[in-house]
C-alpha cells in the first residue's frame, strides 16, 4: 500500500490498489434537506465517495458545501466540487476552511460552465482564478499551511485529497495531455474525466499520458454516464459542449425498442467499464448517472465492483 497524506477514504482506496468508485449527487433547486440525503442513501454503500456538484451548468442550487456537510454528517464521504466562476479567492479559501472544519477530505477543482448556460445568464462572473490555480491554492493551504495572502495557519490546515477534471474530447486534442500535466504539477492527485463515449479517442489520450508517465503521478477515474435513451444521446452529441458521442452509440440505442433503451444504455456502460479495466492507468470509475442515481447500485454491482472494500 502506498503512503497517503490525507485522511481521505478515496485516497486510501486508491493507495491500497483497489478500483475506486465515485458518483455524484446534484443538490436541489430549493432548500429541502431530504433530497441530497435520499440520493446519498441510494448510492452511499456502492461508492467510495460522493461528488456534490457546485451549481452545475450555472443553475442555482443548494450550495455544494452545505450538501457535502449533510453527507459527511451521515457518515459518508463527500467530494466537494468547487468552481471558480462564482467566488473570488477570498470566498474560495473561506469555503475550503469551512469544509476543513467539517472534516471534508476531498475536493474537485473546476473552472465551471459559463454562466450564460444557466438560469442567471445576465449575472457577472468572477474567474479570479481558474481550476489549475485552485488546485495550487488547496495544495498550498494543505502542505504549506499558507493562504494565498501568505497568512500562516498553525493549526487547522485543510487535509484534502485534491482532484481535477479533464476532458480528453475537447479541442485542441494535442493540448489535453499538456494541460493534464500542468494540473498534476499544480498538485492534482486524482482526475475524474468527462464522460467517455468515444473509446478509441479516450485510449489514445491514455496512451499519450502514459508516454509522459502521468499515470504514475495521478489516479485517473474514468467518467461514465449511462444513456437513458437515444434522445439523450443525440442531445449530448449536439448540444453539450465538449462531449463526443460517436454515431455507433446512437445507432445502437436507436436499434432497440424505446422501452429497452435504458437497459441498453446500462449495458453499454457496463461494457465500457470492462474494457476500461484493461486499460493501464485507469484506477477507478466515476459514474455520473444524471438524475438517475437509482441506477448506480445496479451498475456497480453488475460491474463486479461491489461490495466496496473497507479501508482504515
Amino acid at each position: 500500500m502506498k503512503e497517503t497524506i490525507t485522511p481521505s477514504r478515496l485516497e486510501k482506496i486508491l493507495a491500497a490498489g483497489h478500483w475506486a468508485v465515485t458518483s455524484e449527487c446534484g443538490p436541489p433547486r430549493d432548500g429541502r434537506p431530504e433530497i441530497i440525503e435520499k440520493k446519498a442513501d441510494l448510492i452511499g454503500d456502492y461508492v467510495d465517495a460522493i461528488n456534490v456538484t457546485d451549481n452545475q451548468t450555472a443553475v442555482v442550487r443548494q450550495c455544494s458545501l452545505a450538501a457535502c456537510i449533510r453527507i459527511k454528517l451521515k457518515g459518508l464521504e463527500p467530494v466537494l466540487q468547487m468552481v471558480t466562476r462564482d467566488r473570488n479567492r477570498i470566498a474560495l479559501q473561506s469555503d475550503l476552511l469551512g469544509a476543513a472544519s467539517y472534516g471534508i477530505h476531498n475536493v474537485l477543482c473546476l473552472t465551471g460552465d459559463h454562466q450564460r448556460f444557466g438560469d442567471h445568464a445576465s449575472s457577472t462572473n468572477v474567474f479570479d482564478m481558474d481550476s489549475t490555480r485552485l488546485i495550487q491554492t488547496v495544495k498550498m493551504m494543505r502542505d504549506d499551511g499558507r493562504l494565498l495572502s501568505g497568512h500562516e495557519m498553525h493549526e487547522g490546515r485543510p487535509q484534502m485529497f485534491i482532484g481535477a477534471a479533464e476532458n480528453p474530447f475537447a479541442d485542441p486534442f494535442e493540448i489535453r495531455v499538456m494541460r493534464l500535466a500542468k494540473k498534476v504539477k499544480a498538485g492534482a492527485q486524482f482526475i475524474q474525466t468527462q464522460c467517455i463515449y468515444n473509446m478509441p479517442k479516450f485510449k489514445l489520450w491514455m496512451k499519450l499520458l502514459r508516454d509522459e508517465g502521468l499515470h504514475e503521478k495521478v489516479a485517473i477515474l474514468a467518467g461514465l454516464t449511462p444513456m437513458k435513451n437515444v434522445g439523450m444521446a443525440k442531445y449530448m452529441k449536439n448540444r453539450v459542449p465538449g462531449i463526443d458521442v460517436p454515431d455507433d452509440i446512437i445507432k445502437r440505442l436507436a436499434g432497440v425498442p424505446k422501452e429497452k433503451q435504458a437497459d441498453e444504455g446500462i449495458q453499454i456502460c457496463l461494457e465500457q467499464i470492462e474494457e476500461l479495466k484493461q486499460e493501464e492507468g485507469i484506477r477507478g470509475f466515476h459514474v455520473m448517472a444524471i438524475e438517475w442515481e437509482e441506477k448506480v447500485p445496479e451498475i456497480v454491482e453488475r460491474a463486479g465492483l461491489y461490495p466496496r472494500p473497507s479501508v482504515n
Binding site: H114, D128, D171, P172, I175
Partner: protein, 226 residues
C-alpha cells in the same frame, strides 16, 4: 480604439422629455472611426430628432456640432460661450467623454447618446471586434500576443477549458455565432513561435488591483507635466 454603438432613438427621446433647446454633440475621436458618434452621426441623430419633433408638433430647438475630442478640456472649453443656448446635451462620445462634459458643465444635463462597448479593432467596414479589457498589466508577451483575459470567456490563465470544440468557445451556442476559443488561438500561435514551453508552467494569480478592482485608475507622468 474605443468602440461604441448608437442608443435606440426611443431611449434618447425618453431622456429629453421636458427639454426645449438641445445640443447633439459628436466627438471626432474613436466614436467617429466606429461610425457611432462623429459629426456625421450627430447630424443624423439631430435630423431624426427634428423629424420626430415635427411629427409630435413640438417646437424644440435642436442643434448639432462635433468636437475634436470630448476627452480633452481644451476642446470641451470651445463650448463655453455656447452652453447658455442649450437646456440639455446629448453627447455621442464614449462614457469618458460624456462624464468629462458633465464635469465641465455642471449646470447642464449631459445624456449619453451611445453605449460604450469595448477597446477593439476594425475587422472590415462595419465590423468591429474587441481586443483589450485594459486590465492594467499586459501579459501578451507570455501568451503569444493573444490575450486570455479578453479572448477567453472565463478569463482563464491556464486554458483552454473543457468546453473548447473545433477551435470555438462553449459560449458560441449561447450567443448564436462562432466565438473563437482564445486558448486555442494562443496554443496555435505559441506553436508557430516555437514557444510552446510557455504553456507548461501554471500561471500565478492575476493582480486585479491594476484593473477594475483597484478603484478609478490614474497615470501621472512627471516628465511630461508642465
Amino acid at each position: 480604439m474605443i468602440m461604441a454603438k448608437a442608443k435606440p432613438l426611443e431611449e434618447i427621446l425618453s431622456y429629453l422629455e421636458g427639454f426645449q433647446r438641445i445640443l447633439v454633440l459628436g466627438c471626432n475621436g474613436c466614436v467617429a472611426v466606429c461610425e457611432a458618434g462623429g459629426l456625421k452621426e450627430a447630424e443624423v441623430l439631430a435630423s431624426a430628432l427634428r423629424i420626430q419633433n415635427m411629427q409630435a408638433g413640438d417646437r424644440r430647438d435642436i442643434q448639432e456640432l462635433s468636437l475634436t475630442r470630448q476627452c480633452d478640456k481644451e476642446y470641451l472649453a470651445e463650448l463655453k460661450d455656447k452652453m447658455d443656448n442649450y437646456d440639455a446635451v446629448v453627447s455621442l462620445a464614449c462614457g469618458a467623454g460624456v462624464q468629462f462634459m458633465a464635469e465641465m458643465y455642471t449646470e447642464k444635463p449631459i445624456f449619453p447618446g451611445v453605449d460604450t462597448c469595448f477597446i477593439g479593432v476594425t475587422e472590415e467596414q462595419g465590423v468591429w471586434t474587441e481586443r483589450c479589457q485594459a486590465c492594467g498589466q499586459c501579459i501578451l508577451a507570455e501568451t503569444g500576443g493573444i490575450c486570455p483575459i479578453m479572448r477567453c470567456a472565463k478569463r482563464m490563465m491556464n486554458g483552454p477549458c473543457g468546453g473548447s470544440e473545433k477551435g470555438k468557445c462553449e459560449i458560441s451556442v449561447l450567443v448564436g455565432r462562432d466565438v473563437d476559443c482564445g486558448w486555442h488561438l494562443i496554443f496555435e500561435r505559441l506553436k508557430k513561435l516555437g514557444q510552446i514551453g510557455r504553456f507548461a508552467e501554471p500561471a500565478l494569480d492575476k493582480d486585479w488591483t491594476l484593473s477594475r478592482d483597484g478603484g478609478p485608475r490614474l497615470i501621472i507622468r512627471e516628465d511630461v507635466r508642465p
